[in-house]
């Protein structure tokens, strides 16, 4: 007999169906609803979605094909030692699944995604394609000035794409909507950290991912509903340990992997999955120059992640240690995609800082199409046991 599905579960299943749909029907429907609408896709790990929204476009988060696509063409473009997200993204492109996407932004993550921007220009010359760089100098006068100009160029590009101006007023309104989105996202994460048995990691994950595939207004309503549903969620509390997941900000693990970690005895209370909507950690100012406000938010109020330089040695890994403390995590699973330069080059430094702070940690690698969960369950299970027994 099927278990009755709770309201939170209903919302999560709806989100899962959106995330699972590699024909992107929801985004296609949005575009078809009014003539002239445009869809602008973006890859991990951060773009200012406010600008895309203010241009009247739908920002569409693209995180590869997951474990639901057979990569045939994509493998012909990549050597065996390159991660999977670019090959499944190419697969999405050459199989026509992204034929409704009018523009594509490739933010700075690593050299693979950077180079994919050039490949896209060659392979899909009719799509507006842009490599979107963010500064590694965090001085407002230097990196801030540069970034504000880059945002101005992005605004001009979007205006050319849509044929309409992006006014400061429209951009401020979009910033306000995304501020609301970020507040709700943080509230969901806080609620999960407080009572993780009510919010399974896989459910929270699809609720966040689906939000990057629908209008922000719709996602804000959905998040408010989900929060209300979590408050009345009735699930048994298990004797799981509380863990934070880091290293998974770009190529995403399959849902089965998230579930396996929980089945192995871990509640996920913090993560950096599809980081986009948590990249900025505080409200962006809605007064003054909106581009300067977006720039300041990036410089001053963004997470520490592997694609950003950490200017001071003492600050390296501080964000991770603090998040562990804030969320009450008892340990960290550093789960990096195979061949992921950012996550794997950072791993010794981040895990070193966690160890220095007395935080138990373990690591493993995955791919978006990993199928064998038994080793993951065994590792995560042993890690959970070790925390229970010895921490």
């Amino acid at each position: 007999m099927d278990m009755p599905v709770s309201k939170a579960g209903v919302i999560a299943r709806r989100c899962e169906s959106i995330v699972d749909d590699l024909s992107f029907q929801a985004a296609r429907d949005w575009k078809a609803a009014e003539p002239g609408r445009k869809v602008v896709g973006f890859l991990p790990v951060y773009v200012p979605m406010e600008l895309i929204h203010a241009a009247g476009c739908l920002p569409l988060g693209l995180f590869g094909g997951g474990d639901r696509i057979e990569v045939i063409h994509g493998d012909a473009y990549y050597q065996s030692y390159i991660c999977r997200i670019p090959r499944s993204t190419i697969e999405l492109g050459v199989t026509g699944r992204l034929d409704f996407v009018d523009g594509l932004l490739f933010p700075f993550v690593c050299d693979v995604i950077r180079n994919l921007s050039g490949m896209w220009k060659v392979m899909f010359p009719d799509v507006w394609t842009k490599f979107f760089d963010t500064p590694q100098n965090f001085d407002p006068e230097i990196g801030g000035t540069y970034y504000t100009h880059e945002l101005r160029e992005l605004r001009a590009d979007l205006e050319r794409l849509t044929g309409r101006d992006i006014t400061d007023a429209a951009l401020r309104a979009s910033i306000a909507l995304y501020n609301e989105n970020r507040r709700l996202v943080r509230a969901v994460y806080d609620a999960r950290a407080a009572e993780p048995w009510k919010a399974p990691a896989a459910d929270v994950y699809v609720v966040m991912r689906a939000g990057l595939m629908m209008p922000v207004e719709e996602h804000n309503v959905l998040l408010a509903d989900y929060l209300a549903a979590l408050a009345i969620e009735d699930r048994p509390r298990k004797d799981n340990v509380r863990v934070a997941i880091f290293g998974s900000f770009c190529e995403q693990p399959p849902l089965a992997l998230l579930k396996s970690i929980e089945m192995a005895g871990c509640y996920v209370v913090e993560d950096d999955y599809s980081l986009v909507n948590r990249f900025i950690t505080e409200d962006v100012a809605t007064d003054g120059d909106p581009l300067a406000a977006l720039s300041t938010a990036y410089l001053r109020h963004s997470v520490e992640t592997s694609c950003k330089y950490v200017p001071n040695e003492a600050d390296k890994g501080r964000f991770h240690v603090e998040r562990v403390k804030q969320t009450g995590a008892e340990g960290v699973i550093y789960a990096a995609p195979s061949f992921c330069d950012p996550a794997l080059l950072d791993r010794p430094m981040i895990c070193g800082r966690l160890s220095d702070a007395g935080i138990p940690n373990m690591s493993f690698k995955y791919a978006e199409n990993s199928g064998q969960m038994q080793p993951i369950r065994e590792q995560a299970g042993a890690f959970a046991d070790s925390i229970k027994l010895w921490s």
Partner: protein, 427 residues
């Protein structure tokens, strides 16, 4: 193994590099400051203004690769928690530190006084120096050079780099060295850079002749040695490139090809190739010999452009020193987007009348490697010349499979023969 026979310029280059190692390892005695910095977008002229020595970790890794030391160093780093998936230059460097940090002259490297993170065209650089910074606890100066995503630099990018030079890099180097910056000194040095750059380009472009008097890949890595490392902007470099030019001109006049490691001269050149990607260093001589055995000469390569695209016209400009340094950093090969790289390589195939493009894809280097299969196909499509793809690594001997590489090369040469026969029949 027999001793490799080298051209006179190669011996001179070796002497210069050895001299730099001696200067670095005697820094404690001489009181000179030492920087670590990277090859692409390196700011040697600026370091010279402050009397700071230039130690390049990529070059150390190459040296260790050629001396067959890197394999152990890499495994040492992997034992310490560094992933088997990441750049082997980084792991060779970190492993070397774990084994006493011994320079090629047998003396220990001094700890750097500054890490000059010229962040150009390679993501790994950023993490590499974050890793080193944790060990050395010395000042780290980051110069963020934006990627040319749309195939060109914008005024905003140039302003950003110049501003960082003025407000971060120069004050930082002044503090480390205790020397005040003198822009006129920089102008003098840049004038010398431009002189050497002229001669380097002349030499590299002789690959257009038949027979080519140079090998622009295996020989080319010797030719770029001084200008890509600690000598750009010095009188020594000017003298080196004058001598190199004379040497290459003598071969050109005599209708001779380059000298091979076994001492023979490759004048009977059956195949002319353009090569994309860095070489393998752990089996460098064996790798070169595979080409030579088949009568293949490399007439142009992208690797010899990682430290500057001088053949496309860029010269360091004493008239506008900081902007010139910014443009130099922005224009390095791996900082250019893929469509630009396709344009450059296709143009090389045409201009150097090559038989095709060979890609040596390096496991360690995503900056070069990600997208190379598309590059190869595009160049094939545009030029009508066949391409080929081999896979090796920089300094990890586990990823150099001689039988596989040789087999692929032989197949490629057969393909070129076939194509020629087809063309002859059609004619």
């Amino acid at each position: 193994m027999t001793v490799a026979v080298k051209e006179p310029s190669m011996l001179l280059q070796k002497e210069m590099i050895a001299g730099n190692y001696d200067a670095i390892t005697s820094a404690h005695e001489t009181g000179r400051k030492v920087s670590s910095t990277f090859v692409p977008g390196n700011l040697n002229e600026l370091l010279m203004c402050f009397g700071i020595l230039n130690n390049l970790p990529e070059i150390n890794a190459i040296q260790n690769g050629m001396r067959r030391l890197s394999g152990d160093y890499i495994m040492e780093a992997e034992k310490g928690g560094h992933s088997e998936d990441v750049c082997t230059y980084v792991k060779a460097d970190i492993g070397m530190m774990g084994r006493g940090n011994i320079a090629p002259n047998g003396k220990p490297f001094p700890e750097p006084d500054v890490l000059l993170l010229s962040y150009t065209g390679c993501y790994t650089f950023m993490k590499w120096f974050e890793l080193l910074r944790a060990e050395y606890k010395c000042p780290t100066l980051m110069l963020h050079v934006p990627y040319e995503g749309d195939g060109h630099s914008t005024p905003n990018m140039i302003d950003y780099v110049v501003k960082q030079l003025k407000e971060v890099i120069i004050p930082g180097l002044e503090e480390v060295s205790g020397v005040k910056f003198d822009i006129d000194r920089l102008r003098e040095i840049l004038a010398l850079s431009a002189k050497a750059e002229d001669d380097l380009v002349w030499c590299l472009e002789t690959g257009k002749h038949k027979p080519s008097p140079i090998d622009a890949y295996f020989g080319g890595v010797y030719y770029i040695g001084p200008i890509f490392t600690a000598f750009r902007g010095t009188e020594e470099a000017v003298d080196y490139y004058t001598a190199l030019r004379q040497e290459v001109k003598a071969r050109l006049d005599a209708g001779q090809g380059p000298t091979l490691p076994d001492g023979s001269v490759l004048t009977d050149q059956k195949y002319r190739l353009v090569v994309e990607g860095p070489p393998n260093w752990t089996s460098f001589r064996e790798f070169w010999q595979m080409f030579a055995d088949e009568g293949a000469v490399v007439v142009a390569s992208s690797y010899t452009k990682v430290g500057g695209m001088y053949d496309l016209g860029f010269r360091h400009d004493p008239a506008d020193p900081l902007r010139s340094l910014a443009e130099y950093c922005l224009g390095c090969y791996t900082n250019r987007n893929l469509p630009s790289r396709v344009d450059i390589l296709a143009q090389y195939v045409e201009d150097y009348e090559a038989d095709g493009l060979l890609v040596n894809s390096i496991k360690s280097c995503n900056s070069f490697s990600a997208g190379q299969l598309m590059i190869m196909r595009e160049v094939e499509r545009r030029t009508g010349k066949p391409g080929a793809f081999i896979e090796t690594d920089l300094v990890d001997p586990r990823y150099f499979s001689p039988a596989n590489v040789k087999n692929r090369l032989e197949s490629y040469f057969q393909m070129i023969d076939q194509k020629r026969r087809g063309a002859n029949k059609a004619a």
